[in-house]
C-alpha cells in the first residue's frame, strides 16, 4: 500500500512531463491530453493498491501511449473497412523509449503553460485547461472547485482544446516578440487560480481552497523554470505572503476579518519569511513590476508587529510606484487607504474623487467600501453608513455583504440588520 496523497502529489508533478513528451512525439495536443488523463486515472487507482512502479513516469507514458494507439488503431480499422486498403502496422504503434533519452522536462512544462494560456482562449478557458493539462487535476476536481457541473467543465475544456487546434497553435516556445505577453498571461492565470481559492478559503469551500495550494505549486514550478524572471518571483512571493493570512482572515462565525484587525500571531511565519526573502532578493536585481511591488507591500504589512506600527509612508511610496507601472482604479483604491493612514482620511477621500466618474469603478462595491471606511475615520458616521450600505448592495459576495452590513449597523448603533432574503443557499 502506498499513501494516496503521496501518489496524487507525484502524479501532479509527472502529468505535464508525460503530456509534454507525448505531444512532442505525436502532435495532437487534444488527444494526448485525454490519453494522459486516462493514464493518471489508472495510476490513481492502481498505485495506492499495488505500490509505485519502478519508473512511474515511464509507466504513465506507456499507458498513455497505449491509449492513443488503441484509439488510432480502432479508427484506422474503421477506415480500413470502409476503403478496404491493405492493412499495415501503423508507424505510431511504438513503445516508450527509456526515460533518459528525453530532453529536460521543464521545457515541455513551459511549452504546455504557454499553450494553455494561448490568446485565442478566454481567461476562464485558460484557467480550466491549465489546471487539467499542467496541474494534472481531473475535470471532476476542477468542476467542484468552480462550482459547475462536471459536464459543463468537460465541455469548457474540450472547446478550449478545439480552439487551440483551430488557432493553429504549435507545441513550441512562443516567438521572442510574443513571449512577454504569453508569460504575462501565464502569471495572470496562476494568480486567478490562487485568488479563486484564497477568497473561498472558509468553511464548506474546501474544494476551492485547494486551488490556492495548486496555484502556489504551479508558481513554484514556474519560478524553478524561470529563476531569472523577477515578476514570476514576485508572483510566488505575493501568493505566499497573502496565503500566510489565511488562518486569520476569517473569524469563528465565517465572517471576514479586515487586515487591521487580524490576529498577527496566526499568520503563517514560514510562508511569510519565504515570501519576504523572495521579493527582497528579486528587487535587488530585477526591474520592479506589478507583482513584485504588490509583494513588497504585503511584505511591509508582514513585518509590522501590529497594524498601528505599519510603515505606512513606505506603503504609500510603493503604491505610487505601482500606480505608475500598472495604473488601474483598484490600485488607486488601495493607495487611498494608505494615504489616509499617513495624511489623514480627507487626503484619502480626495484621491477617490475621480474614481466616481470612472465607469469601471463608479458602481463598484470596493469604491463604496473604501469611501465608507474613510468617511468613518473622518468622523462622518451618517455618510459612512450610507456608503457601507451602497457597497453591501453592490457586492456579489455573501461574506462581503455580511461584513459591510455589519459595519453599517455598528454606525447606526443598532444590532446588525438582517440581510434581505436568505444568506446561505
Amino acid at each position: 500500500m502506498t499513501d494516496g496523497g503521496e501518489v496524487e502529489e507525484l502524479l501532479r508533478v509527472l502529468a505535464p512531463q508525460v503530456l509534454g513528451l507525448l505531444v512532442r512525439r505525436h502532435g495532437q495536443f487534444d488527444r494526448c491530453e485525454d490519453a494522459v488523463q486516462e493514464a493518471l486515472l489508472a495510476a490513481a487507482l492502481q498505485w495506492p493498491e499495488q505500490g509505485l512502479p519502478e519508473h512511474p513516469r515511464a509507466w504513465l507514458l506507456t499507458v498513455a501511449t497505449r491509449r492513443l494507439t488503441d484509439e488510432w488503431r480502432s479508427e484506422h480499422a474503421r477506415r480500413e473497412r470502409e476503403v478496404t486498403v491493405a492493412t499495415r502496422e501503423p508507424a505510431y504503434a511504438m513503445v516508450a523509449p527509456p526515460a533518459d533519452a528525453e530532453p529536460p522536462a521543464g521545457d515541455d512544462t513551459l511549452r504546455l503553460l504557454f499553450l494553455c494560456c494561448h490568446p485565442a482562449l478566454a481567461r476562464s478557458a485558460q484557467v480550466a485547461l491549465t489546471l487539467r493539462a499542467v496541474g494534472g487535476l481531473s475535470t471532476a476536481q476542477i468542476a467542484r472547485a468552480y462550482l459547475v457541473p462536471e459536464a459543463t467543465m468537460s465541455q469548457r475544456i474540450r472547446r478550449a482544446k478545439q480552439r487551440i487546434e483551430a488557432a493553429g497553435a504549435r507545441f513550441t516556445m512562443p516567438s521572442p516578440a510574443d513571449r512577454d505577453d504569453r508569460l504575462a498571461a501565464v502569471r495572470q492565470v496562476l494568480y486567478l487560480i490562487f485568488n479563486e481559492g484564497y477568497t473561498a478559503s472558509s468553511g464548506p469551500e474546501l474544494h476551492r481552497a485547494e486551488l490556492t495550494g495548486e496555484a502556489i505549486r504551479l508558481a513554484r514550478m514556474l519560478h524553478a523554470l524561470l529563476p531569472d524572471d523577477g515578476e514570476v518571483t514576485g508572483l510566488l512571493a505575493l501568493m505566499l505572503l497573502t496565503d500566510a493570512h489565511r488562518a486569520a482572515r476569517v473569524g469563528p462565525g465565517g465572517e471576514l476579518v479586515p487586515l487591521a484587525e487580524q490576529d498577527r500571531d496566526r499568520w503563517d511565519r514560514a510562508a511569510t519569511a519565504e515570501g519576504v526573502a523572495l521579493v527582497t532578493e528579486a528587487l535587488t536585481w530585477s526591474p520592479p513590476g506589478p507583482y513584485q511591488l504588490q509583494a513588497a507591500i504585503a511584505a511591509v504589512h508582514a513585518e509590522a508587529p501590529s497594524a498601528a506600527e505599519t510603515d505606512w509612508p513606505q506603503i504609500v511610496a510603493l503604491y505610487r510606484l505601482l500606480a505608475r507601472f500598472a495604473p488601474n482604479p483598484m490600485v488607486t483604491l488601495n493607495q487611498a487607504v494608505a494615504v489616509a493612514m499617513v495624511d489623514g482620511p480627507r487626503a484619502g477621500l480626495a484621491l477617490l474623487a475621480p474614481l466616481a466618474d470612472d465607469e469601471r469603478t463608479a458602481a463598484h462595491h470596493r469604491l463604496a467600501a473604501v469611501r465608507a471606511h474613510l468617511l468613518e475615520l473622518a468622523g462622518e458616521p451618517g455618510p459612512a453608513r450610507e456608503a457601507y450600505l451602497a457597497a453591501a448592495r453592490a457586492t456579489t459576495s455573501l461574506p462581503e455583504r455580511r461584513y459591510l452590513e455589519l459595519r453599517a449597523a455598528r454606525l447606526a448603533g443598532a444590532e446588525p440588520a438582517p440581510s434581505i432574503g436568505v444568506d446561505r443557499p
Binding site: A122, A151, T152, E205, A369, T396, S397, P399, E400
Partner: protein
C-alpha cells in the same frame, strides 16, 4: 461570474400559439440549451409547473399559513430559470435577449448569483 436568468411569462401563452409557432419556440429553446452546453456555460435550469399548482406560505395571525395559488396576482408569473457561468454580464444579457418567451410578452431578469467567497477589506 454566475447569473440566474429568471423567466417570467403569461401562463398558458403557449396554448395560444399556432403549431408552427410552437415548433419554432421549442426549437429555439433547444438551440440555446445546446449552445450553452457546448460552450461550457450551462450551470443548470428548471421549468416550473403551471402556477395553478402553487401553494403559498405566508404569515397569518402570527403563524405560517399555507394557501393555494401563487404569491403574486400579476399577469406574468415566474416560469423557471436558467443558470449560466459567463465571462461577462453582457453575455448573460445576450442569452436572455434570445429567449423566445420575450417575443410573446414574457420578461427575462438577469441576476448575478451570490458567491460564498469574499475578500477581506
Amino acid at each position: 461570474m454566475k447569473y440566474m436568468l429568471l423567466i417570467w411569462n403569461r401562463p398558458g401563452f403557449v396554448e395560444e400559439l399556432s403549431e408552427q409557432e410552437r415548433v419554432t419556440l421549442f426549437g429555439e429553446v433547444d438551440e440555446i440549451m445546446a449552445e450553452l452546453s457546448a460552450s461550457g456555460e450551462l450551470v443548470g435550469g428548471q421549468a416550473l409547473a403551471d402556477p395553478s399548482q402553487t401553494r403559498t406560505v405566508r404569515l397569518a395571525g402570527g403563524h405560517p399559513e399555507v394557501v393555494d395559488g401563487p404569491f403574486m396576482e400579476s399577469k406574468e408569473q415566474f416560469a423557471g430559470y436558467l443558470a449560466v457561468d459567463c465571462d461577462s454580464p453582457e453575455r448573460a444579457a445576450e442569452i436572455a435577449a434570445r429567449w423566445p418567451d420575450v417575443r410573446y410578452g414574457g420578461v427575462m431578469e438577469v441576476r448575478p448569483i451570490m458567491d460564498d467567497a469574499g475578500t477581506e477589506m
